[in-house]
Subunit: 189 residues, 2 copies
Amino acid sequence: MDIKTVCAGLLTFGEASGYEIKKLFEDGTFSGVYDASFGSIYPALTRLAEEGHVLCRAEEQQGRPDKKVYSLTPKGRAHFIAELSRGIQPDKVRSEFAIATIFAHLLPRAVIAAYIDQQIEEHRAALARLDLAECDPSSAMTNLRFAIGFGRVQLNAAIDYLESHRGMLEASAVPPDDEAVAVSGVKHA
Amino acid sequence: MDIKTVCAGLLTFGEASGYEIKKLFEDGTFSGVYDASFGSIYPALTRLAEEGHVLCRAEEQQGRPDKKVYSLTPKGRAHFIAELSRGIQPDKVRSEFAIATIFAHLLPRAVIAAYIDQQIEEHRAALARLDLAECDPSSAMTNLRFAIGFGRVQLNAAIDYLESHRGMLEASAVPPDDEAVAVSGVKHA
DNA sequence: ACTGGCATGTAATTTGTTACATGATTGT
DNA sequence: ACAATCATGTAACAAATTACATGCCAGT
């Protein structure tokens, strides 16, 4: 599924500008499941407009550049539904944290501890975003509540595990007085 | 973290060929947290060799092309540890399944049901891979058991939620006799 | 004064995938 | 016969990020 399709999907919930779509990827409905930069979003919206999948209306603003508000056309809506019905790819995950755990026996204990703290904080922030999303009236739909609950159980499972098992990982790591050993692989007298 | 670094990391566990590294991304230690194609792995190994981070030894084989077995040099090992200690990026997830749930109210019920089945099966397969990884003697290390347990709790949380709440999502979807409505947005008499 | 939010867009670069090219062996 | 596994590598292509370019307004 390409960015064009995802942008079209967001527009089924109502019109939005490129800037607003970026914010939705960051803290809104899509945070944690998709992300894209301005360099992807703006060209995607331009191409969607060329294809007649969206309409673009320039909204004048004081001082700031015109806001370009995009709205989905019936054709765009039908195309989005068809695309999403065609099949989905397996989840793609790239977790540098998980990689760090796999090599924890090579890393200084302080580094591992900091990474665990960081990971827990990120998951807590993600949970807070879900709480906010739940308050939004648009989340009245059952499927959105499903999606929020789904994110929640996974984040909670991860946080619980990290908190209750972090000692295991910290014990595997290189003790503070032994860091040179880890790098050289040789213990000197 | 780039592919070169990840390949170097895998080589801390012992020498391997490009082909074997690919398999490790698919079913081994890294399945579920990282993935890369041959088109990324082979050039990465070539560059690691140019930089002196790995050594390459050609192993002759009958019929098949020579197997190029790479092993990490002390310099490569030190560089890997330094890189991994420098900091990690937040997890990156791209879940088309999660996107489908967000738009479940636009999709035919049969499509949603199939996607849920597919997702559960993928997670079960991932669990089976973790079970295999645990049997491997190299997984005796505490940090690897931590990593396996971490994957396990998240996968189990996801499967449990999907099984117990799938009715919610299926109820949101478009009933079988109503699909034209979803696309056109208009209900005809 | 400076940072951060609002707002768009392009160009250069990076990154990575897919497809192609080759070829023997083993299992169905 | 045919598909799959083993095994490497390149070239073409696609996707996406980063950095650049511009500029106002509000808050500290």
